[in-house]
């Protein structure tokens, strides 16, 4: 029932703002020149934007599970996978693609499993657990690798070339979408939304809320693994500190994509749009000459557009929904 799916999308007002912003940004980028709209431009864009899109996707199911569970650990976790991959695996001669990919995804999933178990059984507020994860991993990353260095496995070096649209990095992204689409087709997606919207309601109605939460974290962890692979391909080496910057960017992308930080609302499409919008904003700003302050200008723009989009959501979209 494709018409039904479209109707459902139209009903989901949370996508109006990110989709509108996407069109505006695309038009703005087009007026600044056509660099992005070439084969190389798109290939490069995919390479640069994928780690952000994947980290935004990684926190999506976790945030959707509710309890204000914004996963702050996602950035350092990506960094952790990156540095251990370079130091422990490649550093000891293990470069087999299966081992490397398995390590990345397995490590991400395992770490998130631990976080989920702590949240559920120790009953600590999720944001405290993931903040601890953020701090602990940020420290460990520097212990594993004190400064940027090392090299990615040989077979991965070509991934970061950015010469073809259909690069392996794109396939990492597509893998995440295939997993998400598969989950959406099952009852898990509904159970996740219900748990996030009102956990008491879900629990008393017979939804196994703990299992749902665990799966949400494990899926998020697996996506973080994919993000780490794309990040490693992007920088072709190990970096113990840069990963951490992705946490706040991923959260920003998530909110820009229309997800609710209190849970229950969100999705891959929204988070992807949010992340692409962030990429477009920084791309657009880079076409102007702000000199040495360009980094600050980009951050400020992220903040202003985030606030602006929330205001539009509150005063235009929700108002109409209430009427």
């Amino acid at each position: 029932m494709p018409s039904n799916a479209i109707r459902q999308l139209a009903r989901d007002r949370s996508l109006f703002v990110p989709a509108g912003l996407f069109i505006v940004l695309l038009a703005a980028v087009a007026t600044r020149g056509h660099g992005l709209f070439t084969m190389n431009g798109i290939a490069g864009a995919i390479l640069v934007a994928t780690p952000l899109i994947l980290t935004a996707l990684a926190i999506t199911p976790i945030v959707m599970a509710g309890r204000g569970a914004v996963d702050l650990s996602v950035g350092p976790l990506m960094g952790f996978i990156n540095v251990t991959l370079i130091t422990w695996l490649v550093g000891h001669g293990v470069t087999n693609p299966v081992a490397v990919i398995g390590w990345a995804i397995g490590l991400g999933a395992a770490f998130q499993l631990i976080q989920a178990l702590v949240i559920i059984y120790v009953r600590v507020v999720p944001i405290i657990v993931t903040l601890s994860g953020f701090l602990v991993l940020s420290g460990i990353n520097l212990m594993v690798m004190s400064r940027p260095g090392g090299v990615a496995p040989d077979w991965m070096l070509s991934w970061g070339a950015g010469t073809s649209v259909f690069s392996p990095v794109l396939f990492l992204l597509l893998t995440a979408y295939v997993i998400w689409a598969g989950l959406r087709r099952t009852m898990f997606y509904r159970n996740l939304r219900m748990t996030g919207s009102d956990e008491r309601m879900a629990y008393t109605s017979g939804v196994p809320v703990d299992t749902v939460r665990i799966i949400a974290h494990v899926v998020g962890g697996a996506f973080t693994g994919l993000a780490a692979l794309s990040y490693t391909a992007l920088i072709s080496s190990g970096d113990p500190t840069q990963g951490s910057t992705y946490t706040l960017q991923a959260v920003t992308a998530l909110v820009l994509g229309g997800a609710s930080l209190s849970g229950g609302r969100g999705g891959a499409l929204g988070s992807t749009l949010g992340a692409i919008n962030m990429f477009l904003i920084s791309y657009l700003l880079s076409t102007f000459n702000f000199g040495t302050v360009s980094g600050f200008v980009t951050q400020m723009a992220f903040g202003l557009i985030l606030v602006g989009s929330l205001l539009v959501n509150v005063f235009v979209i929700s108002r109409r929904a209430a009427a």
Binding site: M187, R190, G206, T211, I215
Partner: protein, 517 residues
Amino acid sequence: MENEITIRMVDVAKSFGETKALRKCDFEAHAGEVHAIVGENGSGKSTMAKIMSGVLHPDAGKVTILGEQITSPVDAKRVGLATIFQEVLVAEEASVFDNLFVGRDGIFRSEGNTGDRWREAETILARLVGKPVDLNEVVGCLPLSIKQWIVIARAILRSPKVLILDESSAALDLDSTIRLHEEIDRMRASGATILIVTHRIAELVRIADRATILRDGVTVGVLEKHEITEANLLAMMTPSDRRASEAKDYASKGRDGAGAILTARNLATHRTAAAFDFDLPQGAIVGVAGLDGQGQDAFVRAVAGIAQPFGGDVQVRSADTGKMTSVGTLDEAARAGISYVSGDRKREGIFPQQSIFENLAIGVYRKNLGPLGVIRKPSLKPMFKREVDRLRIKIGSPSNKITSLSGGNQQKVLIGRAFANDPQVIVLNDPARGVDLGTKRDLYRELRIFADKGGSVIYLSSEIEEFIGFADRVDVFFAGRLFRSLSGRDIAEEPILAAMFGQSRNTSVEFDLERTA
């Protein structure tokens, strides 16, 4: 088959901290019966329902449902038990359909056919609500009464062998309650066990086959159908020392008010509703009634300054100057001496994280500030004790969280909060929702004392019987405006009902009582 025991509880006990919710609870219910669980607030009814549903675990004793032990709601679902809880539990952002079938499936697997479910849901919801409901609609956009139906339909759609209704008819109007009873009859005929936890004695007399009575966490007896009468129930529910005043008589002893203390002119509750005038005489208790959504809720909110009316002006006589002043905001209402008590405790009443003391005294902190704005708590202690004694609030330590109290006792704390402000006018918005008879009588008595001392009361209720023998006047709302004022002999079930349905005045009533009010 008829006498197969579906639920058995033996010696069940459950405590929350120092509060013993259940001490010794024994219970049995059969297939094909409607069994009521009756008791005052804090007697442990809701705790019992939660234990049966697997939400709470008993400290001691044994619970068997359909021959099995239940330790979680997932278990309850498996054996065929469904519960409709007191709170209206819905996911606001999800569709009606998703809300109806939440928890029906495995984590990944769906256990039903979407098309079949869709048709089934449409049929049942239309039957319950009385009109079709769009299953694609987002629940947050729907009125409370429909949300309540969604919660009820969610349980009925499971075709449960045991259905527990915990005060589930509290938010329903009379018409809807009748439809709910039809549904219960249908399920009883198919051999299900239906447990009703309720305070509405009239409802229970009509529908229950048996009733188990709880008092202070102990089951004190079981009544068969022919024994279920208001007198019997009350005798068993209430401790003997409280049974003195059996008949409810808190009506005014016929004193004349000294003019209007609150007036509303050209008030409109809604864009399409006609404007009307309203006067509240000093020393009077005015009841406000109406079917669900006829503007009565917007009206009491407007006079209490909670929400702006669509049009018109509300004025209150100042206690100091005697002049009428306009009241448009909550702040102005508070300064004019209007207190508001909501029956929606969860959303408009309690501060769940705060203590009983804080919850009661919070309104008068501003009047009890010492140097540097420090609250003088010791000076509030006598007031606290006075209100607790007067309203007979059952509390442990004042520093316990308010959520350690039962719903009825929480409501009493909120009423204490309103009294503590020393108001001129108290506006109560269905305060007796989910509150037992003993508490209601305490409430009527205190409000009457308040009115006799010159205070004025606006009392909205969804239960007609509340007004009888209590209100001096009942203002019935219909189509968004004040439709008819009833007083004297007209404060009875039939005239109020007739007005609620917007029927023209019954010709058998001889005097035009509207004008004498």
